[in-house]
Amino acid sequence: MRLATLARTLPLLLILAACARADNTPLMSTKSPVELRAMQSRSFATPDRAQTLRQVIATLQDLGYSLDKVEAAAGTVTATKLAALRMTATVIPRGTNATVVRANALVNFGGRQHQVDEPLFYQQNFFAPLAGAMLVQALPGPALEEGTAPATPATAPPPARPGS
């Protein structure tokens, strides 16, 4: 009798198991929205949103990310590094003289995606290089012959200013 019951329920269980999908929903941070916003945002003293977006793209490329999606009108860039770390950066005008950059990263760990919530990650691995790139961009570049490689800045970038 038990064997017959098992024989009836086993196919049903197998069908249900086949329908079940792995949970690919990212695990979001348990930190407060205020904490997250503080670590993920920096304000830059420029009203030039387009130029800031270009610098965000250049910084991501410098850091070894490959670009996935760029929406210039919305000011968003999504990029992936080594198929394991995904970052979305948004450039938002703030008032008449400032632009805010907000970055959000997800990392693959243990078979799932996790929202990165370490302030040092955002500061060291994104905002500090971005601040350096924005400073270098403000300086005029040397004239070069066509098709030659420009010189690489040798100075370390200064840290970004804490944002609002």
Binding site: Q61, V70, F109, V116, T148, A149
Partner: protein, 182 residues
């Protein structure tokens, strides 16, 4: 004794690796590449007296000539992204794996031979104006994702072969001349 030390060291490494969380992994992966300066030196070329439109048209044509499929394009910020899939099987690697499997089988150990099967090459190209001049910097970066014969993504790397970058820029130079000549 040296064996015991090696075992203890290995155990410590495993325990320490087990203590890592997702933020530690993100810190490691997200760090700037150690070879960033070298990369930049061969990833960037400067072109003078060229418009964004001409440059991006030539870059897109070059990528298409090389067999890439354009997956993203944002001309207002000078971005073109493309990718292509290629066979990654290397005879030496396959033979090595088969020999290893046979040798281990003789010792009574089962080995599942694994080798590179396919690779997906991604290219990110960004053209940026240089100050107020008519010059443009083109930066191109290649990275590749390798899938093994079991269908698993098992290697990802930035392409560091300077020759690949040099060949790309040679082709881009030719394409630019064609675009400018109409």
């Amino acid at each position: 004794m040296p064996e015991l030390r090696a075992v203890l060291l290995g155990a410590c490494v495993v325990v320490l690796a087990g203590c890592q969380n997702y933020n530690d992994i993100a810190m490691k992966i997200g760090a700037p590449p150690k070879e960033a300066v070298d990369l930049r030196s061969f990833e960037v070329r400067r072109y003078d007296r060229v418009s964004d439109a001409t440059l991006l048209a030539a870059a897109t044509a070059t990528l298409q000539d090389l067999g890439y499929i354009v997956t993203e394009s944002a001309p207002t910020v000078g971005v073109v992204v493309a990718s292509k899939q290629r066979d990654a099987v290397e005879t030496g690697q396959v033979v090595g794996q088969v020999v290893l499997t046979v040798a281990l089988a003789a010792l009574g150990t089962i080995n599942n031979p694994t080798w590179d099967q396919t690779q997906e090459i991604h290219v990110t190209l960004v053209a940026a104006p240089v100050g107020p001049s008519t010059a443009r910097d083109v930066r191109v970066s290649f990275d590749r994702y390798i899938t093994n014969n079991h269908g698993q993504l098992w290697k990802t790397e930035l392409v560091m072969d300077q020759q690949i970058y040099a060949e790309f820029f040679d082709r881009l130079g030719t394409a630019l001349k064609l675009e400018q000549d109409g």
